[in-house]
Amino acid sequence: MIGLTHYLILAALLFSIGLLGAIAKRNAISVFMGIELMLNSVNINFVAFNHFLHPQFLAGQAFAIFVIVVAAAEVSVGLAIILALYRRRANTGVDELDLLKW
């Protein structure tokens, strides 16, 4: 039978993959994709915990929905930032954005 552990491990795997994408990709959009994946894996956890530990009370699902809302907002603003950045520097490479160093 599929239990909580399966879902948690799956979420962990997706989270790690998303993390790899967020850290190790050059393109800002790609970094964003990684972050979205991480958010999604968290959502899996929310739903899974909700489903397996407190099926009567759907707080976990509600939170997942909130996360989705926030993620949507974040993506819209983030992509706008990337666009603005691109206009200024004609590039979307994250590793060249180091004005805040030292």
Binding site: M1, I2, L4, T5, Y7, L8, I9, L10, A12, L13, L14, F15, S16, I17, G18, L19, L20, G21, I23, A24, K25, R26, I29, S30, F32, M33, E36, L37, N40, N43, I44, A48, H51, F52, L53, P55, Q56, L58, A59, Q61, A62, A64, I65, F66, I68, V70, A71, A72, A73, E74, V75, V77, L79, A80, I81, I82, L83, A84, R88, T92
Partner: protein, 182 residues
């Protein structure tokens, strides 16, 4: 039994799609794999009885966000799209960190004893969630709305074309301290 098969099927596909999203060198492909992953995750939600969350997942992530990403890619990338999604210098280190983190979480999860409660996944959750949103979480709900509005306005303002141009204009001499630094 069917649930088990479905789970492994969707989970495996989701992992494969996720890995493909990270490793592919084409940004457009990555976006497609991402959409796929989101879709598979939506199925998993439904598998857990979270039908409403799954629906929202499909609507928002697969429908809206993925499209936004594709637009973003189209609006920014001008050179060769086949080589648009490369790893940076942290590839190896990030892999190690990711594996380590995964291992740690797996260890933690396996070491934990959860007191699971059996449940039937057949009933609809929409009504319960609606009650939650309009009663207990009404404040958060409203704030979420405001946040969305703010994000909308923010995205429009940031994304305006003339904003970038205005900032790019040279400043009047001696008009400020950052002027000389940038």
């Amino acid at each position: 039994m069917l649930g088990v098969i479905f789970f492994y099927f969707f989970a495996a596909l989701a992992v494969v799609a996720a890995v493909a999203m990270v490793v592919t060198r084409n940004l457009v492909h990555a976006a497609l794999f991402m959409a796929g992953t989101f879709l598979l995750i939506a199925f998993l939600y439904i598998l857990m009885g979270a039908d409403y969350v799954g629906a929202v997942q499909i609507l928002v992530y697969v429908g809206a966000i993925s499209i936004l990403f594709v637009f973003g890619i189209m609006l920014t990338k001008r050179d060769r799209i086949e080589d648009s999604n490369r790893f940076n210098r942290y590839g190896v280190a990030a892999t190690i960190v990711a594996v380590l983190l995964f291992a740690g979480i797996v260890l933690a999860v396996l070491g934990a004893a959860f007191r699971t409660v059996p449940s039937d996944a057949s009933t609809s959750t929409i009504q319960t969630i609606a009650n939650l949103f309009l009663n207990e979480y009404v404040l958060a709900f409203e704030f979420a709305g405001i946040l969305l509005l703010a994000a909308l306005v923010g995205a429009i303002v940031i994304g305006q074309t003339h904003l970038g141009k205005a900032r790019a204009k040279p400043r009047a001499p001696g008009a400020g301290i950052e002027g000389g630094k940038a």
